[in-house]
């Protein structure tokens, strides 16, 4: 069985395990939906009080919000194994079990758990996307849909890369790794607003360091058919999400270095 098919088997296995506790899964999903939906109210309150911010209407800002939240919800759904790698695998020794199986460790961790409750964020973000489409309004032609899907794919790769980096740190220290949340949850918060409202150094960080802007801001501009107020060339906007895949590639290189280290320390 090839890697992708095996990943599918892992995913089904995880879903069946969660189906053993249907009420709990449903409650968690609803709770996650409610908890994350609060944030769009914050964005709305800001625009309601001050009017357009940085040249953007609430409807347009809602698109940024929806795009990054859809992206993050999917990444969060898929990367649980890496998120808990330090605490549930390295510290407990369960990682040895992973290494005893004749498959890439990263594949096994990716398949560790598909966390259904994360669909809560997806549902509310999708609702916001529908709302934004009406408010702007957005013309969802084939190009716009393709750009959106491509942006989400690049974004899932980027967040996946961040989680893999967090997991990689666990090879060196099993201390608390909350610092990665600055990049994930903090990144989502930052990318909910259009990039041009931020200071220059922060914009550069979100473009070249942790390229969140490349998977949300630039493709969203392409979907809205608007030029970048900061002057990025128009051809760049739809291809920017490739940066997410580049980030994931670099993360996997770091992961391999960590694996080599684990084999020589055993802890």
């Amino acid at each position: 069985m090839n890697a992708l098919a095996l990943y599918g088997r892992y995913a089904m296995t995880s879903l069946r395990a969660q189906a053993q506790y249907p009420a709990a899964t449903l409650m968690l999903t609803a709770g996650h939906c409610a908890a994350t939906a609060i944030e769009i109210l914050g964005v709305f309150a800001l625009f309601d009080r001050f009017g357009p911010v940085g040249g953007w209407t609430f409807g347009e800002a809602a698109l940024f919000y929806a795009l990054v939240n859809i992206t993050f919800s999917l990444a969060d759904l898929l990367t649980r194994g890496f998120e808990v790698f330090g605490t549930d695998f390295v510290r407990t020794g369960a990682f040895d079990r992973v290494l005893l199986r004749p498959r890439a460790a990263a594949l096994q961790l990716a398949g560790h758990e598909v966390r259904l409750s994360r669909l809560g964020r997806f549902v509310q973000a999708f609702a916001v996307l529908v709302l934004a489409s009406h408010l702007v309004p957005i013309d969802w032609d084939a190009a716009a849909v393709a750009t959106a899907l491509w942006a989400v794919a690049g974004g899932v790769a980027l967040f996946g890369g961040i989680l893999i980096l967090q997991a990689t740190l666990a090879f060196w220290t099993v201390e608390s790794l909350e610092i990665a949340h600055v990049l994930t949850y903090g990144g989502v918060q930052a990318a909910q607003y259009p990039l041009n409202i931020y200071a220059a150094w922060f914009r550069r960080l979100l473009t070249f360091g942790v390229p969140l802007a490349c998977v949300t801001y630039y493709p969203a501009l392409a979907i809205l058919n608007r030029p970048d107020p900061l002057g990025a060339p128009g051809w760049l906007l739809p291809i920017a999400p490739v940066a997410g895949f580049a980030f994931l590639g670099l993360s996997l290189l770091a992961w391999r270095a960590g694996m080599a280290r684990y084999a020589s320390t055993g802890s």
């Binding site: 296995t13 069946r16 395990a17 290494l99 004749p102 498959r103 890439a104 084999a263 055993g266």
Partner: protein, 330 residues
């Protein structure tokens, strides 16, 4: 055929030393001091296909480190290891596809899944061809009497039931070598016997090479023709258990029940280990005085109701061996 080759194996861990308290933790962030721990130092042995070897030693002796290196999880500091022609830690994925591992303390199965679903998933992970898988699975289910458990989630199994399922899980891909790390720990007596019978059968009938670590000396007695004793990272003995016993504690024990009060005996090179009002436990070396001769000597001058001879318990032999080699837990 040589299946496992270990030459001059050494493993040194660097452990960060940390002063106690918050101040110590902070100082540790700035400048760490390292201490070297030699988990293994110059261990060599080899194993033929079809052998059954028990690895014993006190806690912290280096047993787990050896098993981890042999199973490809850990890279040694120096030395050479080959298992079935592969270097485990250089070629992890190919290597682990050919071995089976059972940890007594750690489950390989999926907690929330029915046993059979875990087996199916493992077959896909190990790329076992479907008809071969079904054949092998049915064979193991029959040998381990798993039929009534297949539909139960693993979390509902008792420890004994779970260990049987663990054994099947480790063998679905038909490995030539099986590593067992304390496979009987925590099991009740019938489960221990079942595990030992199964391992023996696997070894004798299917020719699976078995390397087991254990603290349960009855495992050793029941299973292993060959024993390696390891202490403080060094190999202390390698051979049949009988020769280990002969070298360490050759004495036998004679238990005598007398018709009247137990007498004072004055026999050369025979010591009284224990006495009650009407019985004695004597220790003697059969090369000094054979058991029949000793019994004859005693029955000639005293009224005796019963005698029996036994050997020191295996635990006692091993403890004495550790004493001799100063190999207690560090």
């Amino acid at each position: 055929m040589l299946q496992i080759l270990v030459e001059a194996l050494a493993k040194t861990y660097r452990v960060a030393e940390r002063a106690p308290g918050l101040a110590g933790a902070l100082r540790g962030l700035v400048r760490r001091r390292w201490r070297e721990v030699h988990a293994l130092a110059d261990v060599s042995f080899s194993l033929e296909a079809g052998e059954l070897l028990a690895f014993i030693g006190p806690n912290g002796a280096g047993k787990s480190t050896t098993v981890k290196i042999l199973s490809g999880i850990l890279r040694p500091t120096s030395g050479r290891v080959e298992v079935g022609g592969l270097v485990p830690y250089e070629d992890r994925i190919r290597h682990v596809a050919r071995i089976g591992v059972v940890f007594g303390q750690r489950s390989q199965l999926w907690w929330d899944l029915p046993v059979i679903d875990g087996f199916d998933l493992l077959a896909d992970i190990y790329r076992v061809e479907p008809t071969r898988y079904r054949h092998r699975r049915d064979e193991l289910v029959a040998m381990l009497r798993l039929e009534p458990l297949l539909d139960q989630p693993v979390r509902q199994l008792s420890l004994g039931q779970r260990m049987r399922a663990e054994f099947a899980a480790a063998l679905l891909h038909d490995p030539a070598i099986l590593f067992l790390d304390e496979p009987t720990i925590g099991l009740d007596a019938p489960s221990k016997l079942a595990v030992r019978a199964f391992v023996r059968r696997l070894n004798r009938e299917q020719g699976v090479t078995v390397l087991l670590t254990t603290h349960d000396m009855h495992d050793v007695e029941a299973l292993a023709e060959r024993v390696i004793v390891i202490g403080q990272g060094r190999l202390l003995a390698d051979g049949p258990f009988a020769s280990l016993r002969a070298g360490v504690l050759a004495e036998r024990r004679l238990h005598v029940d007398f018709a009247g009060p137990a007498p004072e005996l004055d026999l050369p090179r025979v010591t009284v280990r224990a006495r009650t009002e009407r019985s004695l436990e004597l220790a003697f070396d059969p090369t000094d005085i054979p058991a029949p001769k000793l019994i004859a000597l005693i029955t000639a001058s005293h009224a005796v109701e019963d005698v029996h001879v036994d050997e020191p318990a295996i635990e006692e032999v091993i403890a004495r061996f550790y004493d001799l080699h100063d190999a207690h837990e560090a």
